[in-house]
Structures are given as structure tokens and as C-alpha cells.
């Protein structure tokens, strides 16, 4: 009996302490992705922003729009802030899963246009690029190295294995059309018809025998190049840079790459919506984004970050959103995805299952 009552007292004490601390400042739950991306955000954004704002955060991995939507639909939201691709964010917003951003709290006046929406605030700018084994095909820019998507498709000039996107159509069709000779600025126009989509799908179908692996995460892109499992892969530029830092023989080009951005969103009915909004305002400040290039080669969405960053020139010029690089790339059209993603995904999955 004595032991039981002691345990109860202890539990009660702990519980009251918890309630007390919660009342003062409840920590918010922030969800990002695994691998080098989450680590970069921790080091560049979250840790310092949390310290400076006094907002405690609980950091978890495994962010996914579908999980966020499930939480919203089942009225069991535990996330306060999560990371998503721009396309996923737009889709979640359309499904009514996201809180609207309070632009009185979050200051986007210094943001590049098209790096935020009513529901999402861009966190970084990245590019979907073609990467290759530099030992096999040469360093980027060197003679004989692959230069554009046509080379990615050219298995005679560049014999070897390829990796391509699994499960998801985001960024999968545009390269195929460019490889098929469609100029970058006409890609989305062509893709707006069923025939255009099928043209892209057929182009991928043509390459399929040489696609050894279909990747389904950024960590996998890096791993495939590191393990020398494939010779060429599509993927996100920062992942390849970090793989190269780990010793992988990998290089890539921004030529014909897809310019896209990741963003933060708050699920509808988040338990600490207001605190999350304040934290979002904090991490969106240029002072934090200026640190991001040190950890992953993703560019800031906040223009001012370029002005105040202490990163060396080579590093800055390697960022996808650097003015030198942007003109080489095709900016991803959120409008096209909002309109056609479902149909394109069905077609893409159809092709994958063959």
C-alpha cells in the first residue's frame, strides 16, 4: 500500500509539473524529412530560431502531406508545422488541409515572387537535376560529360544504368519532353493535353529497360550514387552535393533542371497554431536562411539572405536560386500540377507497373 501511494504522489507531482510548464510555453511539433535535408534545417534554421524566439520545438521526421491530411480529416492533429514540396502543399491546400498563413505575422516582403502561397511559405529553393557518376562520364562541364536530358536518354553515347522517380509523377514528365526535343518554355503547354502527357510517358517507357532502379526518396538518390548502383539518376541537387561531400563520385548540371521550392505549412486545426505561426515567421527571416548553404546547396527564398550570407562565392553560385543559374532552368508550374497531377500520376503509375 505504501509503495502504491508513493507512486501515486510521484505521478501527481510529475503531472502537475508538466501542466505548469505547458501553461508557460507549450512546445510545438515540427516535422521535416530524414537524411541530410532534416539535418541541414536543424543546423541552419530550427535550432537558432528556437533559441532566439524562446519557442520550444519537438522535432520529428517523416513529413508527408497525406499524413497531415489524415490528421486533419480525423480531427487528431498533432503536428504544428511540417515540410512539404510545393506541389504537395498546393494539393493539400486544395483539399482544405492547411491553415491560411497570417501575413501580418509572417513577413514575406523580401521573398522572391512565386516562393509562397496563401497556405505555404517557401523554405528553400532546390532543383530537380540529372546527376551522373563523374568517374564514368567525366566531371560536369568537361568534354564528353552529359549536358542535357537528351544525353540522359542517350544510352548509346552514355551506356550504363539509370535511376528515375518511383511512385510519384512530380518532376518526372518534364525531363522526358525536353529529351524529346520540346523547348523548356513549351513543356507545360505540351503537357496540358493528354497527348502531351502520353508523349512524355512513352519517352520514359523507351528508357525504361535502362532504368535499373526507381528511387522513392532523396536519401535513396544519394545512396544509389554513393553505392555506384546506377550511373545516372534524376534527383534533388542538394542530396547529390551532400553525397559528393561523403565521397561519392557524383556531379550534376543545372542545365534544363526543374526549379522548385520546398515550403512550410500548418495543418488545419494544429494544436498550437498561433505559436507555430510565430515560429514560421522566425525561421523565414533572412538571418537563418543565410546559413542554409553551409549545410545543403539549397537556395534561400528570402532575397535578403543573399545579401547577408557569409558563405563563400563558389557556394553561393552553386545554389539553384542564384541569378546565374535560374535562367538555365525550367521553373515548376504549380498551376499545371493543380490542374493535371491526378491524371498524370495515373498514367505514370500505369507505365511503372508494366
Amino acid at each position: 500500500m505504501k509503495r502504491v501511494s508513493f507512486t501515486l504522489t510521484a505521478a501527481a507531482t510529475v503531472a502537475s509539473l508538466l501542466i505548469a510548464s505547458a501553461a508557460s510555453a507549450e512546445p510545438i511539433t515540427v516535422i521535416s524529412w530524414g537524411g541530410s535535408y532534416g539535418a541541414a534545417q536543424d543546423n541552419a534554421l530550427f535550432n537558432d530560431a528556437s533559441k532566439n524566439s524562446g519557442i520550444e520545438i519537438v522535432r520529428e521526421s517523416g513529413a508527408s502531406v497525406s499524413k497531415a491530411c489524415l490528421q486533419v480529416q480525423s480531427n487528431a492533429v498533432t503536428w504544428d508545422l511540417f515540410v512539404t514540396g510545393s506541389g504537395g502543399g498546393a494539393a493539400a491546400a486544395a483539399d482544405g488541409c492547411l491553415e491560411e498563413i497570417d501575413f501580418d505575422v509572417v513577413d514575406v516582403s523580401d521573398f522572391y515572387p512565386n516562393t509562397y502561397t496563401k497556405h505555404c511559405i517557401g523554405s528553400d529553393v532546390f532543383a530537380t537535376v540529372m546527376a551522373w557518376n563523374t568517374e564514368k562520364y567525366g566531371a560536369p562541364g568537361s568534354d564528353g560529360a552529359p549536358k542535357n536530358w537528351a544525353d540522359f536518354w542517350d544510352v548509346e553515347k552514355f551506356p550504363g544504368t539509370r535511376a528515375y522517380r518511383a511512385n510519384n509523377v512530380d518532376g518526372a514528365l518534364e525531363p522526358a519532353l525536353m529529351a524529346d526535343g520540346v523547348p523548356a518554355e513549351q513543356v507545360y503547354e505540351v503537357l496540358s493535353t493528354r497527348e502531351g502527357m502520353e508523349r512524355a510517358i512513352n519517352k520514359i517507357r523507351e528508357l525504361k529497360p535502362h532504368i535499373a532502379v526507381f528511387w522513392d526518396s532523396g536519401a535513396m538518390q544519394a545512396q544509389l550514387m554513393k553505392d555506384n548502383e546506377v550511373d545516372m539518376s534524376t534527383g534533388w541537387n542538394g542530396r547529390f552535393d551532400n553525397a559528393a561531400k561523403d565521397g561519392a563520385m557524383v556531379g550534376y548540371t543545372f542545365d534544363q533542371a526543374l526549379l522548385d521550392y520546398d515550403c512550410f505549412a500548418i495543418p488545419k486545426g494544429a494544436p498550437n497554431k498561433d505559436t507555430a505561426m510565430k515560429f514560421l515567421a522566425e525561421v523565414s527571416k533572412a538571418e537563418y536562411q543565410a546559413n542554409l548553404p553551409f549545410h545543403i546547396t539549397y537556395g534561400p527564398t528570402n532575397k535578403k539572405a543573399y545579401e547577408i550570407t557569409t558563405a563563400p562565392k563558389e557556394l553561393i553560385e552553386a545554389l539553384p536560386s542564384h541569378p546565374k543559374n535560374v535562367p538555365m532552368m525550367l521553373p515548376v508550374s504549380l498551376d499545371w500540377y493543380a490542374e493535371n497531377r491526378k491524371e498524370a500520376l495515373e498514367l505514370y503509375m500505369e507505365m511503372l507497373s508494366e
Binding site: 502531406v65 510519384n168 535499373a212 532502379v213 526507381f214 555506384n228 511503372l352 507497373s353 508494366e354
Partner: protein, 298 residues
């Protein structure tokens, strides 16, 4: 006899009451299990059925099932799922039968040791085992490097990120599920039966096919069904070792949820897989007299 039938006989009513009480107390032991099954199995499955008939607009619809017929990818995914499950089961049979036979012939102490070796994988995480295969089988993996070193083949052979790798990984993980019931069935076979067969004139091969093999059928069927059904819903190994080329129902469901947020479509796939699994069990039950296979003959 008349005395017993007469309820006024000494203590007759009291004894009947006591018997009923005992029957109830035994029944009540099953109540927690029944409740757990109701909440953990039946409710979610019911919810799954419900969701599969709900469209994006929240109205009842058959759209998800119609799409399954319309798009060939769903059909192919089911074909792949059954193909992988059948092949895995066959590989497990080919490897597991001789293995179980070997174990059954060993003296108990050695059998225990080897059985431990068979079961050891059970105690390592599924993910770890699967990635271990990836490391072994990939292009610059241990196996390819070794085979090229000793001159077995010259260019790397594609062992993973395809059907081959998926089958290797799945067979490895599923093998114990087949070996255990098979070993059990083999252990139960009286050694005299094999002596009798030989004595009656059966050559060893005849004795095996006509006596030993039929007697291992219950274990064989039980083990194969367990493996087959587990394979049907397997996710991790085909996802990791299939390299996106082996799309099974489970992978498809995840992909639909992750990328389309379409609960209805995912649920309808789940429902079809569930129905297919039940159908397989039902047919197997009819063909092999499943009760006796699973619970043994009295």
C-alpha cells in the same frame, strides 16, 4: 436413472446450477479476446470497406472499383503480387523441404542448434535483414565483387532492384514460417512407417513419395499457406529490394496514400486484396481439408 432425472433428488438442482456457472466462467474467459478482435480487426476492416465506397466528394460511389478495371496498372499490380507470392512460396518449398527434412533427421540436440540458426533471423529487424541483402546483392555489392574476383562472371549481374532480389529477400524472411510447421509434421512421422514401406518392397524413392511425402502434407499446406498469405500483404522487402520495378498491392496502397491522398482508392485495393486472400484460403480449405492441416488430426 429416474432418480437423476428427478429434480427433487438430492442436490440435483444445486449441481445443475454449479455446472452452468462453470460453463459461464469458461465462456467469460473468451470475452476479452472477442472484444479485442472486434475492435482491432472487425471495426477497421469495416471502416476500410466503407471508405472504399466513398468518393472524393464524400458521396457513395463505385468509382474506385471502376478505376481498378479501367486502368491496367491495378490488374498488373495484382498479377505481380500473386506472382511474387507464388514464386516466394515455391522457393521456400524448394529450400525449406530439404532443410526441414535435414532437421528432422538430426538428433534432438543438433536439431535444436540448427533450428536456432533458422530462427535467428526472426530476432533481427526486418528492415536490417532487407538492407543487408541490398548490401550483398547490389551492383558493387559483396556477391558481385566476389564473383568477379574469382572469375565467376565478368560484368556485375543484376541481382537486386528487380524480381530476383525481391524473391531472394522474401524467401529468406519467409523460410522459417514454412520450415516450422513442416518440421513439426516430419517429427510426428513414425520411423516404423518408413521401415514398413521398405519392408513391403518400396524403394527409397517410392517410400518417400508414397508414404513420407503424403504424411508431411498437413505441415506443407499449413506452411505454404502461411507464407503465401504473408507474402500477399508484404511491404518492406519488395519496396526496398524491388527497386520500384516490383509493384505489389502494398506498395501501390502506400503510393496512392502518399501521393494522391486518396483513401477511397487505397481502401478499395485493400478490400480486393482481403477478398482475394479469403478466397485463396477458402479454396485451399476445400482442396486440402485445411482444418486438419492447421490443427492436426485427433
Amino acid at each position: 436413472m429416474t432418480v437423476v432425472a428427478d429434480n427433487t433428488a438430492t442436490n440435483a438442482n444445486a449441481l445443475i446450477r454449479q455446472r452452468r456457472r462453470e460453463e459461464w466462467s469458461v465462456l467469460s474467459l473468451a470475452i476479452p479476446a472477442a472484444l479485442i478482435i472486434a475492435f482491432v480487426v472487425l471495426l477497421p476492416v469495416g471502416w476500410l470497406f466503407y471508405l472504399s465506397f466513398i468518393g472524393d466528394d464524400g458521396q457513395g460511389t463505385l468509382e474506385h472499383y471502376r478505376k481498378m478495371i479501367e486502368y491496367k496498372s491495378y490488374y498488373r499490380v495484382f498479377i505481380t503480387t500473386f506472382k511474387v507470392s507464388i514464386l516466394t512460396t515455391l522457393i521456400c518449398l524448394a529450400l525449406g523441404y530439404p532443410l526441414a527434412y535435414f532437421l528432422a533427421q538430426l538428433p534432438p540436440r543438433w536439431a535444436g542448434f540448427f533450428m536456432l540458426a533458422v530462427l535467428l533471423p526472426f530476432w533481427t529487424s526486418l528492415l536490417v535483414r532487407t538492407y543487408a541483402w541490398l548490401v550483398l546483392l547490389q551492383r558493387k555489392g559483396l556477391l558481385n565483387e566476389f564473383a568477379i574476383d574469382i572469375g565467376l562472371w565478368e560484368t556485375p549481374v543484376k541481382l537486386v532492384h528487380n524480381l530476383t532480389g525481391t524473391l531472394i529477400g522474401m524467401a529468406h524472411i519467409m523460410l522459417p514460417f514454412l520450415v516450422l510447421p513442416l518440421y513439426n509434421a516430419m517429427k510426428k512421422i513414425d520411423r516404423d512407417l518408413m521401415h514398413a514401406a521398405a519392408n513391403l518392397g518400396a524403394r527409397p524413392i517410392n517410400a518417400f513419395w508414397q508414404i513420407y511425402f503424403p504424411l508431411t502434407m498437413p505441415g506443407l499446406v499449413a506452411g505454404s499457406l502461411i507464407v503465401f498469405v504473408l507474402c500477399l500483404g508484404f511491404y518492406v522487402t519488395p519496396a526496398v529490394l524491388g527497386g520500384g520495378r516490383v509493384v505489389m498491392v502494398s506498395t501501390q496502397i502506400t503510393s496512392i496514400l502518399e501521393n494522391q491522398f486518396n483513401w477511397g482508392a487505397a481502401s478499395s485495393l485493400g478490400v480486393v486484396l482481403l477478398v482475394a486472400t479469403i478466397a485463396v484460403l477458402f479454396i485451399a480449405g476445400r482442396v486440402f481439408k485445411l482444418e486438419s492441416a492447421l490443427f492436426g488430426k485427433g
